[in-house]
């Protein structure tokens, strides 16, 4: 979907603020959100992937939320979609907060080992399938004009622009999990072709699925 998350090139957000930026989780709940995101995703308690859930947040709320707040909303909506919890149950517990009434001391070291193992598992080779594609390195490609309603990874700021294929990273299912794998291309654009003749000199590189290109 073409939402407010697609920020490339927008004006008005001001300077980049940096503070306390060596801390991974600034509040414990941020770490819990991250851990719950991984654990509920890996165990099937949460359905859907995290990004479409974030992009579905209404624009005003999205802009008014921190990144972990967006993740928390997406984790919650994924749990509701999977039927693991209901909104009413969560609302009730928020109204009367208390620790778990059962199983509070249970542990599952085997699952912890398995999940951590998967998180830091070194791939034998880079991901990406060797699938046939229409374009080759050096080809000139133009990003299609479009307005896709589903989850996609083609920012508005490259649409209509023409660039050059510089690398063929491989094929993956499209961002909305549309099988089979589809070729992706690393495409280089001149900054002036994206932002006009007074753009800063330089190049913009971006990876694009074949369906975005002509």
């Amino acid at each position: 979907m073409d939402g407010v998350h697609d920020m490339g090139g927008m004006h008005g957000f001001g300077e980049v603020e940096r503070k306390d930026d060596a801390t991974v989780f600034h509040e414990p709940w941020e770490g819990r959100t991250f851990g719950l995101m991984i654990a509920t995703g890996a165990t099937g308690l949460r359905s859907g992937s995290i990004r479409p859930g974030i992009e579905a947040i209404d624009p005003a709320t999205y802009l008014g939320s921190s990144y972990f707040e967006r993740w928390a909303r997406s984790v919650e909506s994924g749990l509701l979609d999977a039927g693991s919890l209901t909104s009413a149950e969560i609302n009730d517990r928020v109204a009367s907060p208390e620790p778990p009434r059962a199983h509070q001391d249970d542990t599952n070291p085997e699952l912890a080992r398995r999940l951590i193992g998967a998180l830091v598992d070194r791939p034998r080779e880079p991901s990406g399938d060797d699938v046939p594609g229409h374009f080759a390195v050096g080809d000139s490609v133009t990003v299609k004009r479009m307005a896709p309603a589903g989850h996609h990874r083609c920012p508005r700021y490259v649409r209509g622009a023409t660039g050059t294929v510089t690398r063929l990273p491989g094929g993956w299912p499209h961002a909305d999990d549309d099988e089979p794998p589809e070729a992706t291309y690393t495409v280089r654009f001149a900054m002036t072709d994206l932002w006009g003749s007074d753009a800063e000199p330089g190049w913009l590189y971006i990876d694009l699925w074949e369906r975005y290109l002509a």
Binding site: D6, M7, G8, M10, F13, E15, V16, E17, D21, V24, H26, W29, G31, G35, L36, I38, T40, T43, R51, S65, E69, A72, V75, S84, L85, E89, I90, V94, P97, E98, P99, P100, A102, H103, D106, N108, P109, L111, A112, A118, L119, V120, D121, R122, P123, R124, P126, S127, R153, C154, P155, Y157, P169, L194, E200, P201, G202, W203, I206, W209
Partner: protein, 197 residues
């Protein structure tokens, strides 16, 4: 962790309350256990972070053959040092030279090479960084105190699909006088994102 339910210096935000409620409900139904969540949190607070990427860079500076392998296939080369996994399944390493400077952004969300850099800092996920780095990179780099000369080619990488990117910064002039440990100590997260040259 039980401490999250204990003393708090300030009122809990609505999101914080909801996250606590969700974890409490999942635990009391036996759907998850908190030690699993603890283990995930600790992994990214302790084991996976920019110190991993710094070791990769130091090795590349010290060993030209490793450098060549790293630039040819980042995924396998960082795997040689024991790094890999989620958000690093296809890693491409971008080489800074005297004539080229690379910088990485994710305009659509917060894609970032976790196995070598850990989780991204807040500013990397900010609207300001995501909106501006692709349009006025030199102005943003200036705010980081990084001046890139006009005759240096600037390459901005918007990580939008499955590849994750890391920058191999320029080696210091005295690279041959230093141990790999010393070299790793010179490398920061910001070098490997490319906001520092």
């Amino acid at each position: 962790m039980s401490e999250t339910h204990g003393h708090h210096p300030k009122p809990k935000t609505p999101t914080e309350q909801r996250v606590e409620a969700i974890e409490a409900l999942l635990v009391e139904r036996g759907l998850i256990t908190s030690d699993v969540v603890d283990a995930i949190v600790e992994t990214y607070e302790r084991d996976v972070g920019p110190m991993n990427g710094a070791r990769v860079v130091a090795r590349a500076w010290a060993d030209p053959e490793y450098r060549a392998r790293l630039l040819d296939d980042g995924t396998r080369a960082v795997g040689e040092l024991g790094f890999g996994g989620a958000e690093g399944e296809h890693l491409v390493v971008l080489e800074n030279t005297e004539d080229v400077h690379n910088v990485v952004v994710c305009t659509l969300c917060s894609c970032y090479p976790w196995p070598v850099l850990g989780l991204p800092p807040q500013w990397y996920k900010s609207s300001a960084y995501r909106s501006r780095m692709v349009r006025e990179p030199r102005a943003v780099l200036d705010e980081f105190g990084t001046s890139v000369a006009d005759d240096v080619e600037l390459r901005v990488w918007d990580s939008s699909a499955e590849v994750r990117y890391m920058v191999l910064p320029l080696a210091p002039d005295d690279v041959t006088d230093r141990s790999e440990d010393e070299l790793a100590g010179l490398v920061t997260r910001d070098h490997m994102i490319g906001v520092v040259r």
